[in-house]
């Protein structure tokens, strides 16, 4: 039995159990400290493994090499087989069919998010101008319960008709929005001058037309039609015949 130096040794019959208890405590302390050291090491190792797993799990990207800018002057090799020749012809046919999808004459592209209109001719941009597309506003009728959403439709359309000095036949929502009663006489629906000098109708009540509010061009403020400034509208009216494709996205 050993005792720590400087510590009083208990005398009598109680001395032996007390020493044993002290030794037990020391053993326990040692074991705890060892376990603590091991657990720290274990936690560190687990952490490193988890970090590695975290770093090594995800997405592995490889860059696609840019195309070679060198121009090959050697003639295309002859197809190796009859099947290769057939596939080559099929490829050329499909490429031509896809190229033909681009209109040859005038066509109109409208970006309704950024409120820009482009008039194209083949691959060339003839004109680019700010416009106003649908506001996206929702109008709710108080009593009738009708709801209108002022969106511009997306997709491919065609100019179906063209009008100079168009007259607007106001729909119900135009009266509801103003808090006015809906007229019974159709003549009371007509409004002169508010659509500008020209209108190009492309179906379902939608038109490209002029506006009294040119300062708002470039912002989505319309009820779904495309509003255009006076000068670009004149140009579009002049260059886009009936049948001109209109692409709206």
């Amino acid at each position: 039995m050993t005792t720590e130096p400087g510590r009083p040794v208990p005398a009598g019959p109680r001395a032996a159990p007390a020493a044993l208890a002290a030794a037990g405590r020391r053993l326990l302390d040692g074991a705890r400290s060892l376990a603590a050291r091991r657990s720290i090491r274990g936690a560190a190792a687990t952490g490193v493994l988890l970090l590695l797993a975290f770093a090594g799990t995800g997405w592995d990207f490889r860059r696609v090499a840019p195309p070679s800018t060198e121009v090959s002057v050697t003639p295309a090799p002859k197809p190796a087989s009859r099947e290769a020749a057939r596939l080559l012809a099929e490829r050329q046919r499909l490429e031509v069919a896809l190229r033909r999808k681009v209109p040859r004459g005038s066509w109109i592209v409208i970006d309704q998010t950024h409120n820009r209109l482009r008039l194209m001719k083949g691959d060339d941009v003839v004109l680019e101008a700010p416009c106003s597309a649908g506001s996206g506003m929702v109008l709710k009728e108080g009593s009738g319960g009708r709801v209108w959403v002022f969106d511009t439709p997306r997709g491919r359309f065609e100019v179906l008709s063209k009008l100079a000095n168009p007259v607007w036949r106001k729909p119900d929502w135009a009266f509801v929005e103003e808090g006015e009663p809906i007229p019974k006489d159709p003549g009371d629906r007509l409004e002169y001058g508010s659509l500008g000098e020209y209108a190009l109708y492309f179906g379902n009540g939608y038109m490209i037309h002029g506006t009294l509010y040119e300062r708002l061009l470039g912002r989505p403020v319309s009820h779904g039609c495309i509003r255009l400034g006076r000068d670009p509208l004149r140009e579009v009216y002049r260059q886009a015949p009936v049948g001109t494709p209109v692409y709206i996205y």
């Binding site: 799990t57 997405w59 090799p77 290769a84 490829r91 896809l98 808090g179 708002l216």
Partner: protein, 248 residues
């Protein structure tokens, strides 16, 4: 001598029956050139089918470095890509092969992630004035003039654009768009931190096969302005066709 033609008839019938029941000869494997042409023709057929439909689609030409928003074969908006990358999920540094048929179908129903949210202004119409009310001329204090509806915000004011963002397609392919330079600076620091954390966790999840199955991710880097423009104007349920991607 006459027996010979009689014997030939059942012999011919036997040969014909054997020929009919014999398994079809396995098609000869394509030489590399034919295989390449076959792949190109398949891709063009898919593109033709997309161009015949009414849905918008993105056309990524990895070889030429162009990304175009297209409808019926007509490029409506065309962006130059700074770089194009091709990625697959990896688990513990081991890539998961996407399978040879990963691009066998056209990619469709692309949706933005994070989603582009649109707040619509709702206006309840004022009740129509009863007939003759205007003539009576009510006191101004009783009929406060309705305030005009607010001018809608422009797209730049309306949508803050995260960088990167993804267009996730139904067929297990996604397109990640990164903005070159200071993309995503129009979002607050908190938003950007949340975006980055969300993306990392989402990457971890998809790599481990949790949630939506994603086999291949294409990553393009665009000019910041182009990346923002595409995010703001991308139509819903967009398709994707990829051209000029070398086999990995």
């Amino acid at each position: 001598m006459r027996a010979r033609p009689l014997l030939l008839v059942p012999l011919a019938a036997l040969v014909a029956a054997l020929a009919a029941t014999a398994p079809a000869a396995s098609p000869k494997a394509d030489d590399p050139e034919t295989a390449r042409l076959r792949g190109q023709v398949e891709r063009l057929r898919r593109e033709r089918d997309l161009a015949s439909g009414r849905t918008f689609y993105l056309r990524l030409d990895a070889g030429q470095g162009r990304l175009a928003l297209t409808l019926q074969g007509v490029a409506l908006d065309d962006y130059r890509t700074e770089s194009v990358e091709w990625g697959v999920p990896e688990v513990l540094f081991v890539d998961r092969a996407p399978g040879a048929d990963w691009d066998a179908a056209a990619f469709s129903k692309g949706r933005l992630e994070p989603e582009r949210e649109r707040d619509r202004v709702e206006v309840v119409a004022p009740a129509p004035a009863p007939p003759g009310a205007a003539a009576a001329g009510p006191a101004p204090a009783e009929t406060p003039s309705p305030s005009p509806p607010p001018v809608p915000k422009s797209a730049e004011e309306l949508y803050s654009v995260p960088s990167p963002y993804r267009v996730v397609f139904a067929e297990g392919v996604s397109l990640e768009v990164r903005a070159k330079g200071h993309g995503g600076r129009n979002r607050s620091l908190f938003q950007r931190l949340a975006d980055a954390l969300g993306l990392r966790l989402s990457d971890l999840g998809t790599a481990l096969g949790l949630g939506a199955k994603e086999r291949v991710r294409l990553r393009v880097t665009l000019e910041a302005e182009d990346a923002a423009s595409l995010y703001r104007s991308l139509p819903p349920d967009v398709g994707l066709v990829v051209v000029g991607l070398p086999s990995r």
